[in-house]
């Protein structure tokens, strides 16, 4: 077996040194009748070539985003990631290191986490950011719990524009913790009356912008009302690139900003791994979940970085911890940070403009297709269209024609009576040919 360095001679010598005859003597505490005598009922070892064949066969049954005109978004976006990013995150010293609990030999990880925290704070317009969460959805669940700790109230109000998976994650966690959640009706137009839901028992309002239907939401009035009632505004985003062009949630009064960072540096990966971004104000840091990297000095007075404020965390506080989170998304934050470093402010803003411009072109072209109505007044790089036929059916027909057109709203919100709605995303990867292909295919199907 190529991964196992011990030879049979080594094993015999080692057993002799330990003072046992067989390796099973070391398993003496396992009940005898339950110790397996034979390998389990699975295939035997395979060489690299054979494993490659098996997995390549499975892979080839999937339609890769790059191989077709591709407009699927709804919380995960197809962007171009520079080759440098994937090379660097595969450096052994990054890839095969552990959580930096021994900071003297983990300054590489710690310094990029410090850079990541700084970038995320800047991007969201907040004072501090943590060293990442698993993803945007679980981060949102954690943000709600944090708001409960800060306000000592236990009721969250979820906007109808919040990604339905995110809402479901929050509801699952809240139900289990016996906290209450008010979820507003799906809000296709971004015009819901969320203000009237906020009162003195509200812990937090959770609003996504751009929302799941693509609307860019004005958060200021919501923040103001929330603060008047002692509640927090949790601003959510699922498309990090939007922050290059849209006013930051921090500038609009958000107390906690949480979102999905996949768009920058990370592949689609069929849903994971991704990276949750989490930022807040300095006064709340001791209620924050997740790891934090902080600056300090070493014994010689040189600047260095360490994980800090760990008295919030489970390995110290156990059942009194702010969260049970342990692992974060280390390598995905590294990818985010490297891509963001390559982009810089100039590149990020330009990338965001290209996304917005492409989406505008697409929306305008789709408006010219019979049976298609673009519903959004505002959007960044994704919007909702109303189709003359059920969207799920249309998407399936278009997939047969080699066009991946978007996400039917019915897939996220079945039974909501929104079966004719389709979410369409357009990023920098889309060409004029892609747009033409989508419009042509829709004309045939509708």
């Amino acid at each position: 077996m190529r991964y196992l360095p011990l030879s049979d001679t080594d094993r015999s010598e080692m057993l002799a040194r330990i003072g046992v005859k067989t390796v099973d003597e070391l398993f003496a505490d396992v009940p005898k009748n339950l110790l397996l005598k034979e390998p389990v009922d699975l295939p035997r070892r395979k060489g690299e070539l054979e494993v490659e064949r098996i997995l390549s066969r499975m892979s080839s049954k999937n339609v890769a985003a790059s191989s077709v005109p591709f407009f699927v978004g709804a919380g995960a976006y197809k962007h171009h990631v520079p080759a440098t990013v994937d090379h660097l995150i595969q450096r052994s010293e990054f890839l095969t290191s552990y959580t930096p609990y021994q900071p003297e030999i983990a300054q590489g990880t710690l310094q990029y986490l410090f850079e990541f925290q700084t970038q995320v704070a800047a991007l969201t317009g907040m004072e501090v950011a943590n060293a990442s969460m698993y993803d945007g959805s679980t981060g949102t669940g954690e943000a709600v719990l944090m708001a409960h700790r800060v306000t000592k109230r236990r009721k969250a109000v979820l906007s109808g524009g919040l990604h339905p998976h995110y809402a479901e994650v929050v509801r699952t966690l809240s139900d289990m913790a016996s906290d209450s959640v008010v979820t507003l009706q799906p809000d296709v137009s971004g015009t819901e009356d969320i203000l009237s839901q906020i009162d003195d028992t509200t812990s937090c309002v959770v609003v996504q912008s751009p929302d799941v239907f693509g609307n860019v939401r004005d958060l200021e009035a919501i923040a103001e009302k929330a603060h008047k009632h002692g509640a927090l505004l949790i601003a959510v985003f699922t498309e990090a690139v939007s922050l290059g062009l849209v006013a930051s949630p921090g500038s609009q009064g958000a107390d906690i900003v949480v979102g999905e960072g996949q768009s920058i540096g990370n592949a689609l990966n069929f849903g994971g791994p991704y990276v949750g971004l989490f930022a807040t104000q300095s006064k709340f840091i001791r209620q924050m979940p997740g790891r934090l990297c902080g600056e300090t000095v070493d014994a010689d007075g040189h600047r260095g970085f360490v994980l800090t404020l760990s008295t919030r965390e489970q390995h110290i506080r156990r059942d009194k911890a702010t969260s049970n989170i342990c692992t974060n998304s280390g390598l995905c934050c590294l990818a985010f940070t490297i891509h963001m470093t390559l982009l810089g402010e100039t590149g990020l803003r330009r990338l965001a403009r290209v996304n917005h411009a492409n989406a505008i072109k697409l929306a305008d072209q789709l408006s010219g297709v019979k049976g298609v109505e673009v519903l959004n007044k505002t959007f960044f790089n994704e919007f909702t269209v109303k189709l003359a036929k059920p969207a799920a059916e249309v998407v399936e027909r278009l997939a047969e024609k080699g066009v991946l057109a978007g996400v039917p709203v019915s897939r996220l919100l079945p039974g909501a009576g929104l079966d004719d709605l389709l979410l369409v995303a357009s990023t920098e990867v889309n060409t004029a040919d892609d747009r033409a292909a989508l419009c042509a295919a829709l004309k045939e199907v509708l």
């Binding site: 009922d41 310094q111 410090f114 860019v216 006013a247």
Partner: protein, 548 residues
């Protein structure tokens, strides 16, 4: 004079009376580094830059980047009329950029300050730092896995669903369990998933308000009590016994109609298999409660024993430990949860189902015949990790996985045998599983602590073991070599620890208390970091302003 790299722009002669005079903060720092070189063991040859050949000083991105620089060529779009509804960003973001070569160098230099499995032995107990095969990386990057969207039509991702189904089959076969929830994103998230399934099952029986206690042995990972508390359970500890085991009488004593579950790690964090696990499971079940097993230490028993046979109701599996998906400096992980027949109906969405026309993905509770308790995350979990883990399992096969567990256990016991005369074993010199636990009794009266030993190991080129965990042992040192180490590697490691042990006992305190001497940093001041948290870079105050 500093250039944009934060370095002196022209060579300056050594021996200047005060070379830092008139320099900014960065230059002073550089000078400090140069002085450090002068003061260290290798410092008889100070360098101008403070660098020491391959050991390079690397400033923060924010100290070397420029706001007008980008390393990505993107064409400006044609003019357009914004549809942002007046919500355009007006203020600058404050994000510097670097060109591509500068980016490459910046992060390569950072990487060189890190220790990884590929650097050397990484005996971090309960973390299973085994070899990360690059085949798995290549497989995870196949376009059909990495470049597919979670919400593409199911007809266009049949291979991805097949892979998830196959991974599930492997996990269920290895554990003899009924159902698997793949979506949890890490071990602690898996624990949460398993405990939610237990809570849902209890509520289904109408005992939601009465069964609210979870028993957690003192030796458990911190995530266990944190998880239970997160969803409203009251945590009651089960004390540790002198032999390192959890005793069935101690569990029975605490059982009652209020107990929902026990969270037991097996093999436990003392490196021991719980010999009474079957009796404990039986007692738990008779009391109407559930058995959650923390699977962090599954690597000792893969292919040797099946948790389902031991009476486990739910167990998370850290794909990033047992099945070698890279730890990546702290993630991403993946924590699928296997469930017994009693809990299977409550598995969260989404899950893969084999339908008439191929694989189906059940994404809504309303589409399930079972009673899913909800959803753990957006989309379907850590696909990238599923591919790597399955690649590992296919490569090892049933025989290789069994051999890997045996080698992992053999290696740990070999270390135990090599050190038991010099270091102290808190539970006596008896066989361990895949990790061996020492305490600090052997350091008594030496003035050296577990932390000092760890830092001295860094100087010897090793990553330290897990220290001060589990909490039930004083000054714990938990060593897990994994199956990836050769005998030669273990021999050198044992010899090194013997040398360190002798040095400590012979009073060579300085070797320990000042360590590390040779790492990229000396010991870091964690107290200072926590007392006055600096969590992001802020621009230095201009000299003129500061003087006002």
């Amino acid at each position: 004079m500093l250039n944009r790299q934060g370095r002196p722009s022209a060579p300056q002669a050594h021996g200047v009376a005060d070379p830092a005079a008139g320099m900014g903060d960065q230059a002073a720092r550089l000078q400090g580094d140069a002085n450090r070189a002068a003061g260290s063991a290798t410092g008889s040859h100070p360098t101008f830059t403070g660098n020491k050949a391959l050991a390079q000083i690397e400033p923060l991105l924010f100290e070397i980047g420029r706001h007008d620089t980008t390393g990505v060529d993107i064409d400006e779009p044609e003019a357009f009329e914004s549809r942002l509804g007046g919500l355009e960003r007006k203020e600058a973001i404050g994000l510097p950029g670097l060109s591509e070569p500068e980016t490459m160098r910046h992060y390569v230099r950072l990487s060189q300050m890190n220790y990884g499995i590929d650097t050397g032995l990484f005996p971090l107990g309960s973390c299973t730092m085994k070899h990360n095969a690059r085949l798995n990386e290549r497989m995870a990057r196949l376009a059909g896995f990495s470049d597919v969207h979670p919400l593409q039509p199911v007809s266009t991702v049949q291979g991805a669903l097949e892979l998830m189904n196959e991974l599930g089959r492997y996990l269920l076969t290895l554990t003899n369990m009924t159902a698997v929830a793949l979506s949890p994103k890490a071990g602690a998230h898996g624990e949460l998933c398993g405990m939610m399934a237990i809570k849902a099952a209890i509520e289904a029986k109408g005992e939601g308000t009465t069964r609210n206690v979870v028993l957690v042995p003192d030796s458990a990972h911190g995530t266990n009590p944190a998880t239970a508390a997160l969803i409203g359970f009251v945590v009651k500890p089960v004390p540790a016994r002198e032999d390192g085991w959890v005793h069935v009488e101690d569990v029975k004593e605490r059982l009652g109609p209020d107990v929902a579950a026990i969270m037991l790690t097996n093999p436990n964090t003392c490196g021991l298999f719980e010999p009474q696990v079957v009796e404990i499971a039986k007692a738990i079940h008779e009391a109407g409660a559930y058995f959650y097993c923390d699977g962090a230490n599954f690597n000792a028993i893969v292919g040797k024993a099946k948790p389902g046979d031991l009476g486990v109701d739910a167990m998370h599996i850290n794909l990033h430990k047992t099945f070698s998906t890279p730890h990546g400096g702290g993630g991403p992980g993946s924590g699928p949860v296997v469930l017994s027949e009693r809990l299977a109906p409550y598995a969260p969405v989404p899950f893969v189902r084999v339908g008439q026309d191929g694989f189906e993905l059940v994404e809504q509770a309303s589409d399930a015949a079972e009673k899913p308790f909800g959803r753990m995350t957006a989309f379907h979990g850590q696909m990238g990790m599923y591919v790597r883990a399955l690649s590992y399992m296919l490569s090892h096969g049933s025989d290789g996985m069994k051999q890997a567990s045996e080698d992992a256990v053999l290696n740990a016991n070999y270390i135990r045998a090599g050190l038991s005369d010099l270091m102290s074993l808190p539970f006596g010199d008896k066989p361990c599983m895949h990790e061996v636990l020492f305490d600090d009794a052997w350091l008594k009266d030496t003035g050296v602590t577990t932390l000092d030993v760890a830092k001295a190991m860094i100087d010897e080129g090793y990553h330290p073991m897990t220290m001060y965990f589990p909490l039930v042992v004083h000054g714990a040192m938990l060593i897990e070599p994994t199956e990836s180490e050769s005998k030669a590697s273990l021999d050198l490691f044992i010899a090194t620890l013997r040398d360190l042990a002798m040095a400590a006992k012979n009073g060579d305190k300085e070797r320990f208390t000042g360590a590390p001497y040779h790492a990229p940093r000396r010991r870091l001041d964690e107290t200072r970091a926590a007392r006055n948290p600096v969590l992001k870079w802020t621009p230095p105050v201009p000299v003129a302003e500061a003087a006002e």
